[in-house]
Symmetry: C2
Subunit: 296 residues, 2 copies
Amino acid sequence: MNPDFLAWSGNLQARIETVLERLLPDPQHTPQTLHAAMRYATLEGGKRVRPLLAFAAGEVVGADPARVEIAASAVELIHAYSLVHDDLPCMDNDMLRRGKPTCHVEYGEATALLVGDSLHSLAFELISAHTLSDTPERQLEMVKLLALAAGSRGMAGGQAIDLVSVGQTLTLPELEFMHIHKTGALIRASVLLGTYCGSALDDTALAKLDHYAKCVGLAFQVVDDILDAEAPTATLGKTAGKDAENNKPTYVTLMGGARAKAFAAELHSDALDALAGFDSAQRLRELADFIVQRQF
Amino acid sequence: MNPDFLAWSGNLQARIETVLERLLPDPQHTPQTLHAAMRYATLEGGKRVRPLLAFAAGEVVGADPARVEIAASAVELIHAYSLVHDDLPCMDNDMLRRGKPTCHVEYGEATALLVGDSLHSLAFELISAHTLSDTPERQLEMVKLLALAAGSRGMAGGQAIDLVSVGQTLTLPELEFMHIHKTGALIRASVLLGTYCGSALDDTALAKLDHYAKCVGLAFQVVDDILDAEAPTATLGKTAGKDAENNKPTYVTLMGGARAKAFAAELHSDALDALAGFDSAQRLRELADFIVQRQF
C-alpha cells in the first residue's frame, strides 16, 4: 500500500481509539464489570474499516473531523455490539476475536449479552448528544439511517438470513442478499454518515457514493470469505476455517477461490468507477484498494 | 378502579396495539421468521404501563396523541427487547411470559437474540423518523434521553447490577439503586418523552414530573416483588416465585411483605404529592393508583 495512505489510516485508527476510550463509560462507574467489559469488547481491536470509510467520505464534503469522529464511533459501536452478540454460543460460538478471548469467554454470557445491548444504546446516545450536522433535521436523518442499517432490514436482518442459511445451498443472488444486509448495510451507513457531517450532497452524488459503498461492502465480504478459507488463524486474529466447519455458504464454496477473487476485483473496479468525477475522493479510492488487497 | 380510568386505559392499550402492529415490520418481508418473532414478542402482551405513562404525561402539556403514540411505541419496543433478552437461558432462563412461551422457547435462542437487537434498533428508528416534537433540537434530546435510559447507565446497567447481586445480601439502598436503573430509568423516560411531545415545561415542572416517575417506577418494582412472592402464576402470566427460586434479593426478602406494602404506599403518596399544582395530571394520578393497587 501507498505509504501516505498507511500514515493517514494509522493516524485515524489511533484517533478513533482515543475517541472511543473517551466516549465509553468510565470503568470506575457502576456497574464496573459491565463498563470494563464494554471497553474490552471495543478498544484495541480491529481494522476500524467503518470509521476509516466515514472519515474518507467526510473528506469528500469537507466535513469537520471533530464531527466525523463521533459519527464514526457510533458506527463502530454498532459493529462492536454485533461482534459480541455474533460470537455468543447460541450464534457462532466463537472463542477468539482480534487475537483475544471473545467477550463471553472473558466475562460470561450474561455480561456479554448486556455489553452488546449497552454498546448498541451508546451508539444512539453519541449520534444524538453531539452536534454532528449543519441542521438538527439532518442529524435526525443520521439517527434514522443508523437505526435502519442496524435493524431487521439491515445488519440484524442479515444475521437472521445467515442463521437460516446454515447447511442450505444458496444461490449467488441469495448469498449477495444476505451480505448486502449483514455487513453491507453498516458499511453503507459509514459512508453516508461521513457525508452527513459536511455540506449536503445532491441525490445523484449521494447515490454514487452509496453505490461505491455497496460495492466495497460486498467486496469486503468476498475477501473475508477468501481469507477465511485460505489464511491461517494467527494472521486473522480470529478462528480461520470457521465457515467450512459451520457448513456456511460462502463465495468460495459457491464460486471457488479463483472466481471469488475475480468477483472481488470486479467489485473493486465498480467501486472506483462510482467515484469518477468526485474531488477529494482519494481516500475512498485507497480504502477500496485496501479492502480488496488486505491479507487479514 | 374508577370506570372512566379503565375506559381511558383500555382505549389506549388497544390504540398502542394497533400502532405497534402498523409499525413493526411486515412478517411477509424477508427475513420472515425474524419479523414474525418480533411481532410475537411485542404484540398482544402486557399492561402497556410505559405507553400509558407517556400518554398521561402528554396530557399535562397538551401533546398531540399522534406524536405520543410513536414515542410510547419506541419506549415499549425497548421494554419488549429487554424482556426477550432477560428471558434467555444465560439470564433468567424463563419459559413463560405474558401467558405464552417466551420468545426463545418459541423461536430458538439465536432468533430471540436478534429479535431483541432488532426491536432495540427499531425503537430508535421510530423516535427519529417521525416528527415528535415542536423542534428537531428537542427531538434529538428525546433520542438521547431514550438512549441513556436504555443503556449501561440506565436499564442495561440495572440488569448488570441485578446479575452480580444474585445470591448476595444487598442493603436497601443497593436494592433501590438497582431498581432505579433496571425498571426506573425506562419508566422515567416514558413520562419525560410524553412531555417532550407537547409544549416545553420549565425545569422545575420537569423535575417534579421526574420525581413522580421515579416514585412510580420504584413502587412498580416493590409491587412486582410482592406479587412475585404472593400471586399465583395463572394470575401473573409469568412464572411466580422466580425471585426466591433464583435467590434474588427483593423488597419482600429484605423488608418482609408488610413493610414492603407500607413502602409501596409511601411511594404512592410521594408520587401524588409531586403532582400537586399540575392541571391535567388526573391520568398520572390514576396510573399511580393503578400501579400500586394492581393484582397482576
